[in-house]
Symmetry: C2
Subunit: 231 residues, 2 copies
Amino acid sequence: MDTIQKAINKDFGIRFSNEKLLLEAFTQGNYLNEHPEETGHDYQRLEFLGDSVMQLIVADYLFTRYPDWEEGQLTEMRIAMVQSKSFSHFARLAHFDRYIRLGKGEELSGARNRDGLLEDIWEAFVGALYKDQGPKAVYDFLDQTIFPAIDEGFFEEFIDYKSKLQELLQQAGSVNIDYEVEKEDLSDPQRPRFDVTVFVDKKAIGSGSGRSIKLAEKRAAKRAYQDVVPR
Amino acid sequence: MDTIQKAINKDFGIRFSNEKLLLEAFTQGNYLNEHPEETGHDYQRLEFLGDSVMQLIVADYLFTRYPDWEEGQLTEMRIAMVQSKSFSHFARLAHFDRYIRLGKGEELSGARNRDGLLEDIWEAFVGALYKDQGPKAVYDFLDQTIFPAIDEGFFEEFIDYKSKLQELLQQAGSVNIDYEVEKEDLSDPQRPRFDVTVFVDKKAIGSGSGRSIKLAEKRAAKRAYQDVVPR
């Protein structure tokens, strides 16, 4: 069994029927130029497919998980989640950087650790997995990687709820919006915690907590926004 | 059995397990406002899902059908095929305009025949079909509707091969590009046919035929472009 196959199997319980697809997902163009004995494509065709696979599986997940969300909320969260810039983060967590078959020049120039390449490889892997095993397997893989990050607030970084709340509240005219830190707990320096409340014209309309004031403010804004926004 | 279910079954051999999903895909927001006894959503959540379903199933089709195409060619054709403006055309061919459950005001203002609504309904139907029966059923449905249109040249309208060829040929300096009608057959006025060849500096580099000179030129450009472009 190929090294990548073994690692993927150990880490995610995934076993490819067609190992060639798995290898293709981790093969960069110049590697093929340097190994003319290898036939086949580099990762780019699978990246093309994987881009759409990410869009759909995330859309389906959100559609199912949030049966009351309107189309606008679903679209916004999908855009936040299917940011290729977040894929490099998840690709590193999955150790995908180790498996890439790179050309020598790219290796020397440090491509193995470049965000752009890791994003592409993430999509290529997802495309290969879809082709080999269908949507359910991709869903299960994302359930071990990207989906849990929703509850950790990872994607909230990508949604500017404070601006959205402000726009919404000021549609009917000027209002004062204040964020106040109600409580801070620094007893464990590894896990600081802040509670923030957002006030509109001195009336509390939402609260949130987080490991930074910024994150707590965002969550307070999100809570307020979701309560205020017309359903 | 519901009327829409019957029609879809007759026309496409599709039978929804969850008829509610099918109905949701054809239900416009104001219809629900006018029928408070009906619970559930209008088509917009399914449209959100169907948008990604179209992207993926078309990507997968192209990936499989054209094993030698590079990522750039695949992307270009997918963009041409997943144009929401073409969906209204296919929605009409499938008689989807008849099944929409519209609010009274929208009916009076002619929304039933509006491209924008038909595009949305197409995507919503595809989203519902995916949710009810998975990717294979969507693939089969598109195989009865959109995929055959590739061979009829329908999507070539959306790709400007003449400009692409010109850009490619002029990368290395100025060249003369001419399109010449080599043959025209007007014997059947319902089915005119033109044969066109494209020359670069008087050397023939591609030919194409079509029901109009414009289409024949495009096909000649496409043929030349695909032969010239580096693989």
